[in-house]
């Protein structure tokens, strides 16, 4: 599994570095709210806290603060 991760990582990074140039006036679509990493931050934070409380995994993208609430 780890080999697969390293491979995926290498492919992704090389893809990123080969990205073509995007001029500032071509970034209109990227500026749209739906293209943000998390268009609805609060909603995502609530879901993340639920998943964190009910699953054995956590983190990765959003830090949802601390606390437990995890019966």
């Amino acid at each position: 599994m780890n080999a697969l991760i390293y491979y995926a990582f290498a492919v992704l990074v090389s893809l990123m570095l080969s990205a073509c140039n995007v001029a500032p006036w071509e970034r209109g679509n990227l500026a749209k709210p739906e293209m943000a990493i998390n268009p609805n931050v609060q909603h995502a934070a609530f879901r993340e806290h639920v998943f964190e409380s009910k699953e054995a995994s956590s983190g990765g993208i959003i830090g949802s603060g601390g606390g437990c609430g995890c019966n």
Partner: protein, 879 residues
């Protein structure tokens, strides 16, 4: 990076098109608030306010969680942004505690005398064993017969017996041991018991979490720092984080380094008797700490004009107490019958039980029943994760696809895969819909099993279903409506199915982790400065929302909006009752009179009195005017109530006073306002609405939401429990700087009894007021209010739980607050108010009103605490 791009685009647009679209685009971009962990961004342009309500519910009456979130973001300067948020979660319901294997059910369930919440290892062990073993006459008779036939009782393990201080040859203890041995053998063989998961109820708990956050922008470098605190009865957490983002490659690439920490303190409350007036609180019988540290690195890259990709890695280091203090494990063979007998029954009771069992037996687990122990997990956990994602915009569809995958692994042998797919579709009228699905799969921790038939070599055990192997599939939809003037409303629903059989490799077994649940969310985001006004101010000036001047803060439904207008107001009221008792209009009531007269005398009269009560109401009022003659209002309410009780002379000698409190969603009001008459100086409108019983009326003293725990008194509950009709008639008028008005409003309970068998009294209230506008931004009001409130009809069947009583009217009352006759009355108050409003400028549309309502004459029904007064505050914002 994306937001920087947004500004660029807007500047470009501004030259070519009207400013309106540019500003709208800017608003949208600013509201999106990308996650700081992955990307740099620029400060918001306006102060923003956000609120969210969330509800999570598991099938089968398991956990239910209500989440309230509020926060704001303030751009202090073009390089510094400050934000604050506050979360409050309320938890109730039940969750799995442990699993018992086949043939063992009877010796570990509550039927055997075991108490989960406290589980004192010595006293209850004694009861558990003896009750079972000595009650079994067949075992006793069999042992007697064997002894008569020459059976010799085995001697006791010398080392344990010596530590306990028992003679290894003591015939009495040897007899006990043999009885218990036979009892265990009998229980563990034969029978038709099936494997079962024991679900334990948890008391209602509330968690509070304030978070402060600052962002500093220095060209291509962004620093984010945050800190917060989370507190709930059995867990406190102090946490903080810092993120450093660098943009380069013509702002197409961002690298972010992050560090998070949290220091956590875990408690476990000792069992409380949970009686109706056991206000002594409960002590903690367990304290532990742990520390989490997380290091992360993320890279995001604009790949094309429609594609954004990102990759992040995270390492999380957890140290300290990582077990769950409430979860138990069933382990066979860890302790022998002799050890249960010697330590559980014959060891000195005054020893520290946490060390006691280990000292005597060498077993490092804490027994709470026969073959039942508190779980133990390793005190370290190292967790790694890799996350990759892509956001792809499709111009032809005007929609965006988000795909994200996370792989996580740790040194507990848990491996998990998480795949998220979401589609964001922009529609007309500022609507956006987001359907999404999520798949999650994890393998089990290496020390997890539903139960253990033999001890493990490493000494780690957990039967927490969250550490088992399972998969989860969930899907949901979010609908967001962006209003023109910077207001965004959003609502979402998600359903999740968790099954062992959904685990990725299909190895999941058993159904211990199986559960269905759903999520509901509703949120509101507002740009606080009047961006809308600046867009539209060439077309129209802000219209007058009501005649003459701002209303006193304590007046609801007092004005109407013009067609097309939308208003949000936040109303807060605070009231205290603490200044002794009153009967009718008479004060100076002594304890003896309360004891003999404040409760309906059935047995010994009142044993407790309330000494103080506090009530805080938070109400959010959404108001919309489809036409000039009709306005619609929706008002969810949120309440916090606290009461102090103290024993009266009649009380039993061991009675304890103390506080109890209650917090949560109250009843929800829905009202329509109809314009009846209007000319230049006078206006009359009628309000007709209902109050939906969304507030709980069954909140208990011990927090358990079951039918046997005793409920808090009528005034402490969060709702009426009935559908109520609410009507009002309002007149307002003005001349020059003066304005005035009057309102008559009423509440009629539309059901004669709620589900618990009572109904709050009806109400009718009359107010007249006069106001003076001193300046364009400052006004004063003077108000006279008279309120008549009926006493409670019927009687709660849950106030004093007595299953043997079939007629609730026979239920004894032990406190003044439990007598329905001690509610309502006639109340005359005078109110002084002040309003600050912004007629123009950056904060046009905002107003803040404050009013103090001072009692003049209060004529109470029965015996009641005197009210000190009521403070009302209203912040309103009209769009």
């Amino acid at each position: 990076m994306v937001l920087v791009a947004a500004v660029v685009v807007i500047k470009k647009n501004k030259q070519a098109t009207s400013g309106k679209n540019a500003l709208l685009a800017l608003t949208g971009a600013a509201l999106s608030l990308p996650s700081p962990e992955l990307k740099a961004d620029s400060p918001v342009d306006q102060p923003q306010l956000n609120t969210q309500f969330g509800y999570y519910s598991e099938a089968g009456n398991r956990m239910q969680v209500q989440v309230y979130h509020g926060g704001f973001v303030v751009p202090v300067s073009d390089w510094f942004q400050f934000s604050f948020s506050y979360d409050q979660d309320t938890y109730s319901g039940a969750s799995p505690s442990y699993v018992v294997p086949a043939n063992s059910a009877d010796i570990v369930t509550k039927a055997s005398g075991f108490d989960l919440a406290g589980g004192p290892a010595f006293g209850l062990m004694n009861d558990t064993i003896l009750k079972g073993a000595f009650a079994d006459t067949a075992i006793w008779a069999g042992l007697q017969a064997d002894l008569a036939n020459g059976f010799v009782l085995p001697t006791l393990p010398v080392n344990v017996a010596q530590k306990v201080g028992v003679d290894p040859n003591d015939s009495g203890v040897r007899m006990q041991t043999e009885l218990i041995k036979r009892y265990l053998e009998k229980k563990q063989s034969g029978g038709d018991h099936t494997i079962k998961q024991i679900i334990e109820a948890h008391p209602l708990e509330t968690r509070h979490m304030p978070i402060l956050k600052a962002k500093l922008f220095f060209g291509p470098y962004t620093l984010t720092a945050s800190g917060g605190y989370s507190i709930e009865p059995d867990y406190t957490s102090t946490f903080g984080s810092t993120y450093h983002s660098f943009e380069f490659n013509d702002k197409l690439t961002t690298v972010t380094l992050g560090y998070k920490f949290s220091n956590n303190h875990i408690f476990r409350a000792a069992p409380s008797t949970g009686g109706p007036h056991d206000h002594g609180g409960s002590a903690n019988d367990f304290n532990a700490d742990n520390t989490y540290r997380t290091f992360s690195m993320a890279l995001s890259q604009v790949f094309s004009k429609n594609t954004l990709v990102y990759l992040s890695g995270e390492y999380s280091r957890k140290r300290g107490y990582l077990s769950n203090p409430y979860k138990l494990v069933h382990i066979k063979g860890l302790l022998s019958a002799a050890e249960y007998t010697l330590v559980g029954i014959n060891a000195p009771l005054d020893l520290d039980q946490n060390k006691g069992w280990k000292y005597y037996t060498g077993v490092n687990l804490i027994p709470v029943g026969i073959d039942l122990f508190r779980e133990v997990r390793p005190d370290k956990r190292d967790q790694w994760s890799v996350t990759g994602g892509v956001n792809q915009y499709f111009s032809s569809l005007k929609g965006a696809l988000h795909a994200r995958y996370r792989y996580q692994w740790d040194d507990w042998a848990i491996r998990s895969h998480t795949l998220d797919l979401a589609w964001y579709q922009q529609l007309s009228f500022g609507l956006m819909i987001e359907p999404y699905i999520r798949y999650y799969s994890q393998t089990a921790a290496d020390f997890y099993a539903p139960y253990f038939l033999a001890p493990r070599a490493d000494g780690y055990y957990s039967s927490d279903y969250r550490l088992s192997g399972f998969g989860k599939l969930s899907g949901g939809i979010t609908i967001t409506k962006q209003f023109v003037k910077g207001v965004t409303l959003s609502a979402g629903f998600e359903y999740m199915t968790q099954r062992s059989s959904l685990q990725l490799d299909g190895k999941g077994s058993g159904d211990f982790a199986d559960i269905d649940a759903y999520l509901l969310t509703a949120s509101l985001n507002i740009n606080l400065s009047s961006l809308g006004g600046s867009i539209d101010n060439t077309h129209q000036s802000p219209r007058h929302s009501h005649h003459g001047g701002p209303l006193p803060a304590g007046i609801m439904e007092g004005h109407m909006l013009s067609a097309g207008d939308f208003m949000v107001s936040y109303n807060y009221s605070h009231a205290d009752w603490a200044d002794g008792f009153q009967r009718g209009t008479h004060s100076g009531i002594n304890d003896q009179e309360l004891a003999t007269s404040a409760c309906r005398v059935i047995s010994i009269g009142c044993e407790f009195k309330s000494t103080a009560m506090r009530m805080d109401m938070h109400m959010i009022n959404f108001m919309y005017a489809p036409t000039d003659w009709l306005n619609l209002m929706l008002m969810p309410q949120f309440a916090y109530k606290k009461m102090e009780m103290t024993p009266l002379p009649n009380a039993l000698s061991d009675a304890q006073g103390g506080p109890h409190e209650n917090v949560g969603l109250g009843d929800t009001l829905m009202t329509a306002l109809f314009k009846v008459f209007e000319n230049e100086h006078h206006h009359v409108h009628l309000g007709i609405g209902v109050s939906a019983p969304t507030g709980r009326i069954d909140v208990t003293f011990d927090g358990f939401l079951n039918n046997t725990s005793q409920t808090q008194s009528y005034g402490m509950q969060l709702g009426s429990g009935t559908w109520d009709l609410r009507s009002s008639l309002t007149y307002t008028g003005y001349a020059d700087q003066w304005y005035w008005g009057g309102q008559v409003s009423g509440i009629k309970r539309m059901q004669s009894r709620n589900k618990l068998g009572y109904a709050l009294g009806d109400e009718i209230k009359g107010s007249v007021w006069v106001g003076y506008k001193a300046t364009s931004w400052l006004a004063f009001t003077l108000r006279n209010q008279y309120l008549v409130q009926g006493s409670i009809r019927g009687f709660s069947s849950r106030m004093e739980y007595q299953p043997s009583l079939t007629d609730p009217a026979d239920t004894p009352q032990r406190a003044n607050t439990e007598n329905p006759a001690n509610y309502g009355g006639k109340f005359w108050d005078i109110g002084l108010g002040v309003t600050f409003s912004a007629p123009q400028g950056e904060f046009s549309g905002h107003s803040l009103s404050v009013e103090w309502l001072q009692p003049v004459i209060h004529d109470y029904n029965g015996y009641q605490l005197k009210q000190d007064g009521t403070l009302s505050v209203r912040w309103g914002y009209k769009f």
